[in-house]
Symmetry: C2
Subunit: 358 residues, 2 copies
């Protein structure tokens, strides 16, 4: 069997590595040669997208900001998984929000604007709000937090959504999988700690997950979804609100590589290639610390010596500020034990100065 | 860092796959292109062994029947791990047995003979015995079971060891690791079921392991060993006897890929590349069924549907009788649950007729 992956980043890299143990060949397409281009059975430039799709039995993606041409062509050939709709909604935040609202999923109040000035004025009507560009923003790019004291500043005109700012207690997320037969399984949701809009660390499991699981199940059914999905939630007074979904494996699901019977990467490839998704068992609580904007030369042994740690390095061509270079998995018998290890790992990676790297 | 692996079989394949997550390049050398030649960063023919060794920071092996030239050259460059001695003893069963006896490890009584006829006569003096060729035999090749009724048959003259036949209760094995600093860790030993000299399935953990662990620790120290070692034991009335050791990752350690915090493959590469071995934690009892002499087309979904199963396919170029094509990992809360699953997997793979495949 031949599986095509659109995008050559670390998510595809981990898909290929964890699924090499199946009788599958992996073809990768991208407009630049990211980490997974080096381990793919074949690499295609985007200009060769028809040959790429034609050569594959199934086509999936590890990144949602992809040329529509490839997606549409793969969809027309009946090979695209997850569905075209699931990824098209992600090309514009306002479409995603409208879909979620129309289907009665819990989201923050929001508005839509076509200029930054309109967006700013609408934000003011919300007391506190976040302005996010409809297109292209992730990891906190093109996002502006507006409170009653915020003065107007110029930003480029483009479509924006304006969301009521939720002063949430914490962010959580779920990784779930649905296969061709409609079988649904979820991993234990995680608690996520973000800074500057970037995931710094997370720990799974988190409490009060019934609603998170129910939302995941309903959302995947409503999109007739095949594959792994990540959904980010805000939790406030034990109420769950969807921040956004990702129609792919997700950075907050890397903990599934340690302490689970199967990882999100394996589940995704099983599901998109017509095989059966598998019930994932959680053997032990686990979490991750992202390695952002720094190398790990000389740090590997210090991290391993902590015990109950695993290192994942993405083999990117250079270290850059804000760039996810890898992550460290950690597990432990208790939440407190994992938190302590995360603190130690953060110290080894960033010293006292995380802000310098993110 | 660049690690060289001598041998391109499934053991090297799993080493590379599981350690792709470290900043390491993997070079492979072999006289034929086995599975790992396809995923190595660079593949060398044996005639290029000097270039291979010179290009690597460390050199290890996944197979002990290797040309001494490569081993000696890598050793002279100070790059060979595990040590030359550990693998040289494996080139001749009589050397291995002498070493173990001289160092007071528990082994079955044995003799040495240079012709098959001498071997046969010595075997007769043991009541029941096994004759094994000193060189080149594995997976039950060139092994002859002799009992008081056995009549003489001609077999080629070559050096043999003649071992007292141990009517053991069961076979067990341990996978252990020792790093450069002398740190020692062991995985939980497993119960192994063999037929026709080939491992069919195993389950870990097994009972009464203190002596197995103690032997592993002492043996690795006595060889000044770096890397993972597998040791096969016979257990008779709770007494432990060494059958043989393997100076490498081992077929009976594949269960460590499921339900453990880290696998034998990762431990081996950590240790041989000068990093710290890591304490492995067992999250849940696990085992394997070897896939021998058969493909898995059409069987994957049936195996996955059993639940608590993982499939490992080695990507060998063709299916042959007796050939290890892959394995299925299985885990469960109890020994009985795992045994039941193993029975089901065996049924899917072999029907009622295992002997046809092995």
């Amino acid at each position: 069997m031949k599986i095509g992956i659109i995008g050559s980043g670390q998510l595809g890299y981990m898909m290929i590595n964890t699924m090499r143990r199946y009788p599958i060949e992996f073809y990768v397409i991208d407009d630049n040669r990211g980490p997974s281009s080096e381990i793919a059975d074949k690499f295609y430039d985007v200009s060769e997208y028809k040959e790429f799709v034609d050569a594959c039995d199934y086509v999936t993606y590890e990144f949602e900001h992809i040329s529509s041409e490839i997606l549409h062509y793969a969809d027309r050939q009946g090979k695209l998984r997850p569905s075209l709709k699931a990824v098209e909604l992600k090309k514009d935040r306002s479409l995603e929000k409208k879909f979620l609202k129309d289907h009665n999923f819990p989201i923050a109040d929001y508005e839509y604007a076509e200029t930054y000035k309109d967006a700013f004025n609408m934000a003011k009507s919300f007391h506190k709000a976040v302005i996010k560009s409809c297109m292209g923003g992730y990891d906190g790019k093109n996002q502006y937090y507006i409170n009653p004291d915020t003065e107007y500043e110029n930003h480029p005109d483009m479509p924006y959504v304006i969301e009521e700012f939720i002063d949430y207690d914490y962010e959580a997320s779920i990784i779930a999988v649905r296969d061709e037969k409609g079988k649904f399984f979820n991993f234990e949701p995680s608690f996520n700690y973000n800074q500057n809009g970037i995931l710094i660390y997370n720990i799974s499991p988190v409490k009060n997950t019934l609603e998170m699981i129910d939302i995941a199940k309903r959302l995947m059914v409503s999109l007739d979804y095949i594959g792994v999905m990540g959904i980010e939630y805000y939790v406030k007074d034990e109420n769950v609100i969807i921040n956004e979904y990702a129609p792919r494996v997700h950075n907050t699901g890397h903990h599934t590589l340690t302490g689970s019977s199967i990882s999100q990467f394996e589940e995704h490839i099983l599901a998109v290639s017509g095989m059966d998704a598998v019930r994932p068992d959680l053997f032990v609580p686990s979490g991750i610390v992202n390695i952002i904007g720094t190398g790990i030369d000389g740090k590997i042994s210090r991290i391993l010596e902590l015990g109950k740690t695993n290192i994942y390095w993405y083999h990117k061509n250079e270290v850059r500020r804000k760039r996810k270079m890898g992550h460290v998995n950690v597990y432990g018998d208790t939440y407190a034990e994992i938190e302590e290890k995360i603190k130690n790992i953060m110290g080894i990676l960033y010293g006292e100065d995380l802000e310098k790297f993110i």
